[in-house]
Symmetry: C2
Subunit: 347 residues, 2 copies
């Protein structure tokens, strides 16, 4: 409920004046204090107490014209969002961080490109202060929309698109070291003595898929093209790709799948064709989002990425950017998180 607009309520400006700092500094302290030097933060806190300033959300909204809400936009069919635990883990991380900032998460689903007209109107309507987006594809119109309407954004995943002329250096993103993780997976298979190592990659209009494919090629620069099959990050797509690979080359003795769901599809096809895992064919996935890898049969060796941590980091970077209030300046460079190979029974 809106706070009464009482004239006697101490303002953020009054706090700034008493503390002898800028309005932006008070705002930053109120929003968590990141980047404010300790002696200044102390002065602000003293002024806040002296004046009885209540930096609650509603008051902040009045002062900053903020809504206290942040959109999370996922341009994937809702069937995929609800079946791949990657999405729920990322949302969990975002949600935890936004809750810590008393900020409402508003989830906007994008089923197809037509939905973007409506999304643009909603974002332009002043209902959220900023937005987070992940799982973008190279042809996604969202970055152009965001730059057109001046919406502060943080992205999950390395951009494969351009935000528009002069805008690319304002793109903040968080990603895993997809290429390095893929290299680890393939090296692990090589170290086991595997000699025909195939790769099921994700859709190549997503940089996560392209980067994992690059990592595979880094380690196996001479791999024949028929050892690579393109899936779509779903179990069904992984099964199709595995069947294709075996049809092309029955001597395959290992598969690195671009995510765990595709790896479970591959496991199913290998089982159907009577190929023992890992004795005849080793399988390694990517993600390690519960419960897919652990509950697979056999449990999947996989490349773990800190999905929840990346979600938290995306939200944190956006909160910092909003607290900062200086949209024009160069934004923080990308944050790339490490991956780790988790060995289980499949390879």
């Amino acid at each position: 409920m809106p706070e009464p607009r009482s004239g006697s309520r101490p303002t953020l400006e009054a706090v700034a004046a008493l503390a002898g700092v800028s309005r932006a500094t008070v705002s930053r302290v109120v929003n968590g204090g990141d980047g404010v030097r300790p002696h200044l933060a102390d002065r602000v806190q003293t002024a806040i107490q002296e004046l009885g300033y209540i930096p609650n959300h509603a008051a902040r909204t009045l002062v900053t014209r903020r809504t206290g809400a942040v959109a999370v936009i996922i341009p994937e069919p809702e069937a995929r969002i609800f079946s791949d635990p990657f999405f729920s883990r990322q949302i969990r991380g975002i949600s935890k961080e936004l809750t810590a900032h008393d900020t409402q998460l508003v989830l906007l689903l994008v089923e197809d490109l037509c939905d973007y007209d409506r999304i643009e109107r909603y974002l332009a309507g002043g209902h959220v202060d900023g937005a987070l987006a992940f799982s973008l594809h190279t042809d996604d119109p969202l970055p152009a929309i965001a730059s057109r309407i001046g919406m502060p954004m943080v992205y999950g995943g390395r951009p494969g698109w351009t935000a528009g002329p002069g805008e690319d250096d304002k793109v903040t993103y968080v990603d895993a070291d997809n290429r390095g993780g893929a290299r680890d997976a393939v090296r692990h298979l090589l170290a086991q003595g595997r000699r025909r190592i195939a790769h099921i990659c994700g859709p190549l209009d997503q940089t996560s898929a392209a980067d994992r494919l690059s990592g595979y090629h880094d380690v196996l620069p001479a791999a024949e093209p028929e050892l690579v099959s393109v899936g779509d990050f779903t179990a069904a797509g992984g099964a199709r790709a595995m069947a294709e690979l075996l049809d092309r080359d029955p001597s395959i003795d290992a598969v690195f799948a671009g995510n765990d769901l595709m790896a479970t599809g591959a496991l199913r096809v290998l089982r159907e064709r009577g190929r023992a895992v890992p004795a005849e064919v080793a399988v390694v996935g990517f993600d390690d989002a519960e419960p897919v890898a652990e509950s697979a049969d056999p449990p999947l060796t996989t490349v773990r990425q800190d999905i929840e941590g990346m979600g938290r980091m995306m939200a944190r970077l956006l909160m910092e950017r909003l607290a900062d209030g200086r949209e024009g300046r160069t934004v923080p460079g990308p944050v790339i998180t490490e991956t780790a190979l988790v060995q289980r029974a499949s390879g």
Copy 2:
């Protein structure tokens, strides 16, 4: 993007004057025409064409002060929302209907009761025109919040709560015939000659669980209390409940589970204990949301509810209510959809 506020743009009022109808009637025609008598709708359409009135969303927003967005609030932990296909199916139905009305779906997740302060501020902030909520528990504060801030709501599921003094007749909801569906399931098991029919019910602070338990008791009024075990609508909860039931009474020859996920948990425990399904123990679930029942081992006999259809219906009722604009009057009574027993291998 906002439409230019040009003075020459024909207004909804002008259309109403030319057609000789009320503003509300024009609004209803623009929003789909439900409930407008054909000859009036024709007059409105003629006036719209004559004046070149463009009833697009942005113009509607200016005229009606609507945001063109509707919140969907699900008071369940996000881990559950993303693991039970019931939720994604309901959301799919809602999303389809809202898209048909060019309305943005805004998903608000509620992890715990503390989140409601923030949700209330968001709802009261004028960022959505109305809200849909399902999977409410009896202690849920949402109905009281909605009536306090005057937010038009449609609920999924029979309310087990009260909306507040004088507010209960304004509660619109959509539900499945949970009690009738449960009766069908238990009668089906009886007809097979099953004699020790247990029930795993959902959390009893949800009316769907309570109503299915009532249906079980309708058919088996003399069932001993130890034949009923309480789960939580998850597979793990179903497994725990099944283990409890077998420990109490090893002679159980059938189980009706309150949803499919609990039924899959029951199947797992029966398999672990070497009880053949359906030869020794028959299992029937509830929901039939893909892929749970069909991909269970063995595939589940279950009570199908039209989850997506209920989602569409919830959204449609809200859209009608918003187009109507008469919040004070008595709202439509509940819509109860039929269920159907789907027989597969498990019982």
